[in-house]
C-alpha cells in the first residue's frame, strides 16, 4: 500500500508499522516513530496496523544546540 514516510510517498507490502520499518531497512536502527502526528512507542509498532495514506515519521538522533 502507499503510505508517506518522512514526507515521501512509499509503497510498502507490510501491514504494520514494525513491518514497514523492517522493509525500509530500519529494523535494528535507533529511531523514534510518529504515526499521523502522534508519537508511536517502539513497543506498539508491531501491533499498530497501517492503512493507505498514513503518515509515518521516522526520526533519528541528530546534531542539535
Amino acid at each position: 500500500m502507499r503510505i508517506e514516510v518522512n514526507g515521501e510517498a512509499r509503497e510498502v507490502a507490510a501491514t504494520t508499522v514494525a513491518g514497514a520499518l523492517a522493509e525500509l531497512g530500519w529494523a535494528e536502527a535507533r529511531v523514534a516513530t510518529a504515526l499521523n502526528g502522534d508519537f508511536l512507542p517502539a513497543t506498539a509498532r508491531s501491533d499498530t496496523p497501517l492503512k493507505v495514506g498514513d503518515r509515518l515519521e521516522v526520526l533519528a538522533p541528530m546534531q542539535g544546540g
Binding site: 535507533r30 515519521e57 526520526l59 538522533p61
Partner: protein, 253 residues
C-alpha cells in the same frame, strides 16, 4: 553546585553538537570544553543518525535532547515523547518557537507544553525569556529548572538584558538556571556565572569559531572563572572613585 533534577553536574558548561566542521572537531571540542551535557535533536533518518549516536555515546556525557524547530505546543510535546524513547532520558530542552526571525520562545505554547510534559514525568528545561511572570508560570507548570536566553539563538550578542536577568535571578534564588542562547564569547559566559546563573548552554560560539577546539577550552576556563568569582563574593560597584592605595602616610611634596 546546582541540582538539575537530582543531578549535580561536574561542569557548568552545556554544549551543543551542531555546526562543527567535522565529527572529529566536534569530539575534540567537546573534550576541550569539559562540558557535562551535550544537546542533541531528532530529525528524519537519512542515514547519518546511527553514526552520530555512536559519537555522542562516546563522549560519555549526559544528553539533553531539544525540541528545536517546533512552533506549537503540540509539535513540541510529540517531539519530546519521541526524544524520551530515542535518547532514554526524561530530560528535555523544551523549545516552542514563537517567531521565525528572532527565534524567541512562544510563552503561551511553552507553558502549555511544559505542563503536559511535567505531568508525564518529563524533567523539563524550558528555553524561555527573562520574563519573571513567565518564569513563575513555568515553575507552576512543573519546571524545576529555567533556561532564560541571553540573546536570540545564534546571535552571539551575549547578555542582552542584564537588568532583566539579574532581577530574574534574584526573584527565584533557589531555582537552577542556565543561560541558553546568545552567548558569543567566553566573557559572556563568565558574566552569566558571575551574576549567579548556574550554568550556560551554547553551541554556535564554539562550533563556528575559527578554531573550535581552542574556543572550547576558552569557554571551559571562562565558566570556571565565573563560578569561582561568584563564590568569592564580588565587590559592589560604585559610582565614585575610592582610592585603593592608602592615603595615610602620603608624602607632602
Amino acid at each position: 553546585m546546582a541540582d538539575f533534577y537530582g543531578v549535580t553536574l561536574e561542569s557548568r558548561l552545556m554544549l551543543g553538537t551542531a555546526q562543527y566542521p567535522s565529527p572529529r572537531v566536534l569530539e575534540e571540542a567537546f573534550r576541550a570544553s569539559r562540558a557535562s551535557v551535550a544537546t542533541v535533536s531528532l530529525r528524519r533518518e537519512a542515514g547519518q543518525g546511527q553514526g552520530f549516536w555512536d559519537i555522542i555515546r562516546g563522549l560519555g556525557v549526559r544528553v539533553l535532547p531539544n525540541t528545536a524547530g517546533c512552533h506549537s505546543a503540540r509539535e513540541a510535546i510529540t517531539t519530546a515523547r519521541m526524544a524520551r524513547e530515542l535518547f532514554d532520558t526524561p530530560w528535555i530542552k523544551l523549545e516552542v518557537i514563537g517567531h521565525a526571525d528572532t527565534l524567541q520562545p512562544d510563552p503561551f505554547g511553552l507553558v502549555e507544553a511544559a505542563g503536559v510534559l511535567a505531568a508525564e514525568g518529563f524533567e523539563v528545561f524550558p528555553y524561555t525569556t527573562e520574563d519573571q511572570v513567565l518564569a513563575a508560570r513555568l515553575l507552576d507548570a512543573g519546571c524545576r529548572v529555567l533556561m532564560p536566553w541571553g540573546a536570540p539563538i545564534g546571535s552571539g550578542l551575549g547578555l542582552n538584558n542584564p537588568y532583566g536577568l539579574r532581577t530574574l535571578r534574584a526573584a527565584f534564588p533557589e531555582v537552577p538556571m542556565v543561560i541558553d542562547a546568545g552567548i558569543g564569547l567566553p566573557s559572556h559566559a563568565a558574566q552569566a556565572l558571575e551574576m549567579g546563573f548556574d550554568a550556560v548552554l551554547l553551541n554556535t560560539a564554539v562550533a563556528q569559531a575559527g578554531d573550535p577546539v581552542a574556543m572550547a577550552r576558552a569557554f571551559a576556563l571562562a565558566v570556571e572563572a565565573g563560578a569561582l568569582a561568584r563564590a568569592a563574593d564580588p565587590m559592589e560597584p560604585r559610582d565614585m572613585a575610592a582610592p585603593s592605595t592608602p592615603v595615610l602616610g602620603r608624602a607632602f611634596l
